[in-house]
């Protein structure tokens, strides 16, 4: 009877502690938490991060936050209890993601942000970010020159809660707003989504049929804008500007159907984040809080290089 009770106590202990203790195998595990896998650009970022982590000898797995900070929070809870050793994060929200990063920090897990910035400089171990502002300053200058300093235009911004949205919009407006004959007739969010941007522009054009240009906060939305303009028979009249350097937009620049984009380097960001995680495991503790990655303007004059 005593032996039976002892076995029951032991079994309970195994069940309780066996489930809550971190599983530690020999090889460190890296979690790649990405804002969404519905956009090819983020798929490339996530897959590239996994590939680089594996090349460095680590296990790596992708977690999709579906553009929702609550899902991201669940992901963090799961991967903390599953014993992951580092997180390469593409955040869903510049403010909403801070608590998730802090949760990992409290658990002793370093977080390296990729592409999207969080509004805190003491939460993530390091943030590797595209220099969106400078990239969009270059696009803004191109925009002013192409439109010869006058005309009506539409801006389709990305996710309202994402810093990249405002860095891009801010860089663009830091130039364009200095030219009073350029008039923004509408500014709306297309949530970085192709179909959403297409619908947004279709609605805007009902009230503003005479527009000369559209500036989109990413290339998926630029492609959506192109579709809307093509359906309205205005694709040759209205100038489109995007941001990302996606292959379909690069082709459209080659075909002279889109004017310009800003080339980002997701593979460089993913590689740097994985490299930082590797250095962290090997003992490095001091990292630059923010590492900007250069964005290059792509237009008709240099399209042959891309």
């Amino acid at each position: 009877m005593k032996i039976k009770h002892l076995s029951l106590v032991l079994l309970t202990l195994v069940l309780v502690f066996g489930c809550s203790t971190k599983e530690k195998s020999g090889k460190p595990k890296i979690a790649v938490v990405v804002s969404t896998l519905n956009n090819p650009w983020f798929v490339m970022l996530a897959e590239s991060a996994v590939e680089n982590a594996k090349k460095l000898g680590y296990e790596a797995k992708i977690f999709d936050s579906q553009n929702n900070p609550a899902v991201e929070s669940d992901n963090f809870e799961n991967l903390i209890s599953s014993g992951y050793d580092a997180i390469l994060l593409n955040p869903t929200d510049s403010d909403g993601s801070i608590s998730n990063v802090l949760k990992a920090k409290t658990a002793g897990i370093p977080v390296f942000c990729m592409d999207r910035e969080i509004n805190a400089d003491d939460a993530a171990t390091s943030q590797i970010l595209s220099d969106n502002y400078s990239g969009c300053v270059a696009i803004g200058i191109e925009f002013v020159k192409e439109l010869k300093e006058k005309g009506n235009y539409v801006e389709i911004i990305g996710l309202v809660g994402d810093n990249n949205t405002w860095a891009r919009s801010g860089g663009f407006h830091s130039v364009v707003d200095k030219f009073p004959n350029l008039k923004m007739v509408a500014q709306q969010s297309g949530n970085f989504d192709r179909n959403n941007a297409m619908e947004v522009l279709e609605t805007i054009m009902q009230a503003n049929p005479n527009i000369d240009a559209v500036f989109c906060g990413n290339d998926a939305m630029a492609m959506g804008a192109f579709q809307a303009l093509q359906a309205a028979g205005k694709a040759n009249k209205v100038k489109i500007f995007g941001f990302d350097g996606a292959s379909d937009v690069i082709e459209k620049i080659r075909e002279k159907k889109i004017i310009a984009t800003g080339m980002q380097f997701p593979k460089v960001m993913a590689q740097t984040a994985a490299q930082f995680a590797d250095e962290y495991f090997k003992g490095r503790r001091i990292f630059p809080q923010r590492v900007p990655v250069e964005v290059e303007l792509v237009n008709a004059s240099n399209i042959k290089d891309y």
Binding site: Y133, I141, A167, S174, V175, Q187, V291
Partner: protein
């Protein structure tokens, strides 16, 4: 009766979960939240008048080109400023020359040793001056947005105050000295069509 309470409870739970699972932000709220109390204008004023104008760390354009041709890696390291990762860097240079053309804010300057160099007095935007000066560190500011506002205030001083004062008194044929930022890429090996974002122009 019990069923009725169960339905009401169910609806309440669904409503609470629905309310908690989504949130909306107005564009105006987000924009207002981004406004800072920090006085960027005063800070930029101090960086420009006490820093950039008194900075002795500029390199002459002749010396930079010579240095690039002999050892570009060393030239990038010693004279360039690149924040983060990228192929290019900003350099703060000084030089002299004669104005041979003025078109849409672009001043073409004939430089005896290096051919023609262009000064763009119209598109003074972006981070060229801030980064080439090397006087402002990324870590001085909590977010990239604040860091970029330094550039905007700095550019406003140069584009709207400093340069208009000078260009109203210069004409084709005048000799000038100038200081400004240029961007060079590690991929480039030809130093033609160089465009300077000016920080200062002086009639000689």
């Amino acid at each position: 009766m019990k069923k009725k309470y169960a339905y009401v409870l169910g609806i309440l739970i669904v409503a609470i979960l629905g309310y908690k699972s989504v949130y909306f932000k107005k564009l105006d709220e987000v924009k207002n939240a981004q406004k800072e109390n920090f006085n960027f204008k005063a800070y930029a004023d101090s960086i420009y008048y006490k820093g950039i104008l008194k900075n002795n760390n500029t390199i002459s354009f002749n010396d930079l080109i010579a240095s690039m041709k002999s050892n570009s890696e060393k030239a990038f390291k010693e004279h360039g400023n690149r924040l983060g990762i990228g192929n290019s860097a900003f350099f703060m240079i000084h030089s002299t020359g004669k104005i041979i053309d003025i078109k849409d804010g672009i001043y073409s300057i004939a430089d005896e040793k290096n051919g023609i160099i262009y000064i763009d007095t119209k598109y003074i935007f972006g981070n060229a001056i801030r980064d080439a000066s090397g006087l402002v560190k990324l870590t001085d500011f909590k977010t990239n947005s604040q860091f970029n506002k330094v550039s905007e205030s700095l550019n406003d001083i140069i584009r709207d105050k400093v340069i208009p004062q000078v260009i109203k008194s210069v004409k084709i044929g005048d000799s000038i000295s100038f200081t400004g930022a240029i961007k060079l890429s590690k991929k480039q090996n030809l130093f033609k069509d160089i465009i300077v974002t000016p920080s200062q122009i002086k009639l000689q």
